[in-house]
């Protein structure tokens, strides 16, 4: 919950709400880019960001993203974040 996970912005999904689709280790997740936007939203497509609980909090370069992902995998935190995303998606659909 406290450690961010790197993801890559692949598309802008909602200009007004400043939302974008991110690819996080192969998992697609909609995130807010409100904290990293600086100019036109489209410029973010292709950028790597550090994502905390659904919010892109920092722009990072690809090498930093790879190093951070490695460190998170070692700690089991990468899987934890991906599981939490899956669980979150389930919570939205069902009754549990």
């Amino acid at each position: 919950m406290c450690l961010g996970i790197p993801g890559r912005i692949v598309a802008i999904t909602d200009e007004a709400r400043q939302m974008a689709m991110a690819d996080v280790s192969g998992v697609r997740r909609e995130v807010s880019v409100a904290c990293v936007v600086d100019g036109p939203l489209d410029a973010l497509v292709g950028e790597w960001v550090l994502i905390h609980v659904g919010f892109a909090m920092s722009l990072i370069d690809e090498a930093e993203a790879a190093r951070t992902l490695d460190a998170l995998r070692e700690l089991g935190e990468a899987q934890e974040a991906l599981d939490a995303m899956a669980e979150g998606a389930k919570s939205l659909e069902g009754t549990t």
Binding site: M1, C2, L3, G4, R17, R29, E30, V31, S32, A34, C35, V36, V37, L50, H52, V53, G54, F55, M57, S58, I60, E64, R67, T68, D70, A71, L72, E74, L75, G76, E77, E80, A81, D83, A84, M85, E87, G88, A89, S91, L92, T95, T96
Partner: protein, 378 residues
């Protein structure tokens, strides 16, 4: 425990370990009289154990595990209030997964769910807001928990709810801030800390200047660090070099992610939505001035405390820790987890009694997970 050979750059790691040893010797620290460095962040605690860094460095360095695990410092009364809200008719109670298993006097949120309460794990407060859009006839509450890393996310979500005037969404705010407990620890006459490794992702939000008082007023060095083993070793060395040279400064080892002044959008959202409470209770540390946040009156319509007449709005309710639970003493560095009478005796990660056993960032859970052989040796 890991070996240096498995690190991304073993040569760099070995060089850092050698320089750390040299600096530790120069300071004159020994196993008996160690230099005490607190890593504030629970993520750092986890990484230190995962890589066995405490065993790889000079024996004259003792890591004291700080209060930076939000689940671990959550008092039982707050868990009880979560359960109380979750069991109200019509409520969907949403939370980060970490908080599900924290025990309160009426059990955990997980147990409340098993009893029939609609408790749902979400990844983001945005998921909770989406749930309230999809369930207009239900009251959706999000458990706002965590330090400055998660605070912007709930602030921005609340602002979105306000913009859309979503009436059936509220936040049960239990956010806490990093600097006040550090001040409390430094004011504790018992505490003998020589320096700090500062949190990385919290600092990404708040920048490095909120730590200025540590160097200026208390004469202790602090180095904001990343999460790789090399980052941590480098940061420990940067702390030691300051001690060796009689300096006390705030340094940023993690500048590739942490901007000096933090993230302006996040800070503005926090400021707009939240204000400090006069004081807030921390598990193991007691009441600390201005260490917790509450929702400003302008946003009362999205404040679960106002909506349900619960929590600090209704007056603080201290609950005693379970008998024999020494979370408080472990948290302040007075004892090691293994010295707690309940460690492995009614308290384990599967059935946690105290909060430090719940999260992988808690000192007790880290000892349990990585400690087997080393516990025997201590």
């Amino acid at each position: 425990m890991r070996y240096v050979e498995e690190f991304r750059d073993p040569k760099a790691a070995r060089a850092l370990i050698a320089r750390i040893a040299e600096a530790t010797d120069a300071i004159g620290a020994t196993r008996e009289e160690p230099v005490r460095i607190m890593e504030i962040c629970g993520g750092h605690t986890h990484a230190i154990f995962r890589y066995g860094l405490d065993k790889l460095v000079h024996e004259g360095i003792e890591f004291i595990h700080g209060p930076g695990c939000p689940v671990c410092v959550l008092p039982m009364a707050r868990v009880d209030e979560c359960v109380e809200i979750a069991e109200k008719p019509g409520v969907i109670f949403t939370t980060f997964g970490d908080a599900m298993r924290v025990p309160g006097t009426k059990g955990s949120l997980m147990q409340a769910k098993a009893r029939g309460a609609d408790v749902r794990m979400v990844y983001s407060p945005l998921d909770a807001l989406e749930l309230s859009r999809r369930n207009p006839d239900r009251e959706v509450v999000f458990f706002g928990l965590g330090f400055e890393t998660t605070t912007p996310s709930t602030a921005l979500t609340l602002l979105q709810a306000a913009r859309e005037q979503i009436p059936n969404f509220s936040i049960f705010c239990n956010h806490i801030t990093v600097p006040p407990p550090l001040k409390a620890l430094l004011d504790d006459p018992w505490m003998m800390l020589d320096g700090f490794v500062g949190p990385g992702h919290v600092s990404m939000v708040i920048g490095v200047h909120p730590y200025d008082f540590i160097a200026r007023d208390y004469g202790k060095p602090i180095v904001v660090a990343g999460f790789e083993p090399l980052d941590l070793l480098q940061s420990v060395l940067m702390v030691l070099e300051q001690i060796r040279e009689g300096r006390a400064e705030v340094k940023n080892q993690y500048a590739r992610v942490v901007p000096e002044h933090g993230n302006p959008v996040s800070l503005a959202a926090i400021e707009e939505v939240y204000e400090p409470r006069p004081s807030f209770e921390w598990r193991g540390l007691g009441e600390i001035d201005a260490s917790g946040l509450r929702i400003r009156p302008a946003f009362a319509a999205w404040d679960a405390e106002e909506k349900f007449g619960i929590g600090y709005a209704a007056g603080p309710r201290h609950v005693e820790e379970p008998e024999g639970c020494a979370c408080g003493q472990v948290m302040t560095g007075r004892i090691k987890p293994t010295a707690c009478p309940r460690f492995g005796n009614g308290c384990s990660p599967e059935t946690p009694l105290g909060a430090l056993m719940v999260s992988s960032e808690g000192a007790c859970a880290a000892y349990w997970q990585y400690g087997g052989a080393r516990v025997a040796a201590e």
